[in-house]
């Protein structure tokens, strides 16, 4: 009975408090952390997690999971890279093809979940495995190795690079445009959730799908759209990775799906759906990026890395939790 009371507080408040605490902590213990350059390295790292995490957050608010969100990033890059390398066509063609592929995977995920009624956790676990295998198998088949070939000589590389993987300098600080894209996607998601009709529907299908259906919300369409949105954002980061690094390892991306979920949950999204917001998810991604790099900036023994990360995560969650509870008093 006390849950609803607690939920009166906004989801991102706690995450913000936790983020601040962690930020101050690393400022204190890691001298190398205290520079604009470091901050933007952290922001860049956060953005590569955060862009997909926004989509995963929306999906979780809508009551579903997507475990294939990590590997689809790699699939996106591979489809583009392998296709264009094999057939020698302009990279824009491959990028478009990759987009279609990703949207199709997202649609398939959503359609299977809605059609069969099987939990999305299982369906997307299946697509996760399949994509992982296909990434490896196809890359091996096409290039004979487990990484894609360098595509920087193929037509369209530089225009695509400037869209997806450019950076600019302010003083001696490098700012990657992914950070700006991230902010844009978060703003858009926030707008949708708070102000658009679609946002209303997302909260409703996550909070009580049957009730939502009963008042005429198009549950199936809303949920499938969310899966497609996750795939789209995965494609976007996939493009970034490809055009920043030129080659991709076919085995990459595995494990990131949990980082997205962690970011969303640390940011105040309810695992069971129906509650959360985009800014919270962004702060969650920032907390993760800050922690994982902060430990390195602080120069701590990497053998203990995971232990530090775990303690940080627990602290963030606890601070978040109590801050929110306190805020609802």
């Amino acid at each position: 009975m006390s849950r609803p009371v607690r939920l009166l507080a906004r989801p991102e408040v706690g995450a913000l408090v936790a983020a601040l605490a962690i930020f101050l902590f690393f400022l204190a213990v890691a001298p190398a952390f205290r520079s604009a350059g470091s901050l933007f390295t952290v922001l860049y790292q956060s953005s590569t997690i955060g862009i997909v995490a926004v989509g995963v957050g929306l999906l979780m608010i809508g009551g579903e999971f997507d475990l294939s969100a990590g590997v689809i990033v790699t699939s996106a890059g591979l489809v583009n890279s392998l296709f264009c390398w094999y057939f020698g066509v302009n990279l824009w063609v491959g990028a478009l093809l990759s987009l279609v592929f990703c949207l199709a995977v997202g649609f398939l995920n959503g359609w299977l979940v809605m059609r069969t009624g099987i939990p999305s956790f299982l369906i997307t676990l299946g697509t996760f495995f399949v994509l992982q295998g296909v990434n490896l198998g196809v890359t091996k088949l096409v290039t004979g190795s487990v990484s894609s070939s360098d595509i920087s000589d193929i037509d369209g590389f530089f225009s695509l690079q400037s869209v997806f993987a450019s950076s600019f300098g302010i003083g001696d600080v490098t700012v990657w445009t992914t950070v700006l894209w991230w902010i844009l996607f978060v703003a858009l998601a926030s707008w949708i959730l708070q102000r658009a009709r679609a946002g209303n529907w997302i909260y409703a299908v996550g909070g009580a799908a049957e009730s939502a259906r009963a008042v005429g919300v198009p549950v199936v369409r809303t949920k499938i759209s969310l899966f497609v949105a996750v795939s789209f954002l995965g494609w976007f980061v996939g493009m970034h990775n490809l055009y920043r690094f030129n080659t991709l390892q076919a085995g990459n991306g595995v494990g990131n799906e949990f980082l997205y979920i962690i970011a969303a949950v640390v940011g105040g999204t309810l695992l069971t759906g129906g509650f959360g917001n985009a800014i919270g998810v962004a702060i969650g991604a920032f907390i993760f990026g800050m922690t994982s790099l902060g430990i390195v900036y602080a120069g701590w023994d990497p053998n203990w890395f995971r232990a530090f990360l775990g303690v940080m995560l627990l602290l963030a969650v606890l601070v978040n939790h109590y801050a929110r509870r306190w805020g609802s008093r």
Binding site: P4, R195, R197, W201, A204, A208, E210, S211, L270, G274
Partner: protein, 254 residues
């Protein structure tokens, strides 16, 4: 407007409804009464598109129809207040009120909602029902059971179109709120809406009903117009006796 002819519905091996006919007419109130488990909610579900019937036929404006989703029923002007599926607990009251029928600033899918207006309208509609909330922004899960039901009813009445279906709307409500609901039912009827009103309370039914159907174990055992039945008969049919007086007698009070 909407008519059921010999409709039946089974959940797997369980036959919840069998050969029931019913008609909702413009400007009249059809009351459905019956014991617990008689199949009233099941009947409602069929008319509102929640689940399809397994036999018989459903006519909307004379045309046989099978709804595949509540959206279709809503689009045909059939608004429903459900017994169990009232609201989304974690969502704000005003969002719940407008859910599925949001006021938007344009037809563009990402068009903003007219939030201020929505809050104002929701608040007014609730006050109309006798529900005064300190904060229209609070999650609806923090309201009391009756208040929640009230929001669902206010919503259906506000958006009420040609047919309004109410599944035990007064069960969780106090005397005053029940009265408000009954007044709204009467107002809807007078506005030419066809109302289907489900209740356990023969008194409530008799106050507004034009037509009475009593279900028993999934079949209709009484089907009468207002003139053909008295409150006493209705009560007797429902309880198999003179109800309150009888009970008072048994309990030795009164």
């Amino acid at each position: 407007m909407i008519e059921l002819v010999g409709v039946g519905k089974s959940y797997g091996p369980i036959r919840a409804l069998h050969d029931v006919s019913l008609k909702a007419e413009a400007g009249s109130v059809t009351c459905v009464l019956g014991d617990n488990g008689a199949g009233k909610s099941t009947l409602i579900g069929i008319m509102s598109g929640l689940h399809p019937h397994t036999s018989g036929s459903l006519l909307v404006d004379g045309k046989p129809t099978v709804f595949s989703s509540p959206r279709e029923a809503l689009d045909l002007g059939i608004a429903t207040v459900y017994q169990n599926l009232a609201v989304i607990p974690l969502m704000e009251v005003w969002r719940n009120f407008f859910l599925g029928s949001e006021l938007t600033a344009g037809r563009f899918p990402l068009a903003g909602m007219r939030i201020k207006e929505m809050k104002r309208v929701a608040d007014a509609a609730l006050r109309d029902m006798g529900i005064v909330l300190a904060d229209i922004d609070q999650p609806i899960g923090t309201l009391s059971g009756g208040q929640r039901q009230g929001v669902a009813i206010a919503r259906a009445i506000h958006f009420g179109a040609k047919v309004l279906i109410l599944d035990e709307p007064t069960a969780a409500l106090g005397v005053k709120q029940s009265g408000a609901v009954l007044k709204h039912v009467a107002a809807a009827r007078d506005a030419g809406i066809g109302v289907v009103f489900i209740t356990h309370n023969p008194h409530h039914a008799y106050l507004v009903g034009d037509h009475f159907v009593i279900l028993k174990l999934g079949s209709a055992v009484l089907d009468a117009r207002r003139g053909e039945v008295t409150l006493e008969e209705l009560t007797a049919q429902m309880a198999g006796g003179d109800e309150l007086e009888q009970l008072a007698h048994e309990l030795g009070r009164g």
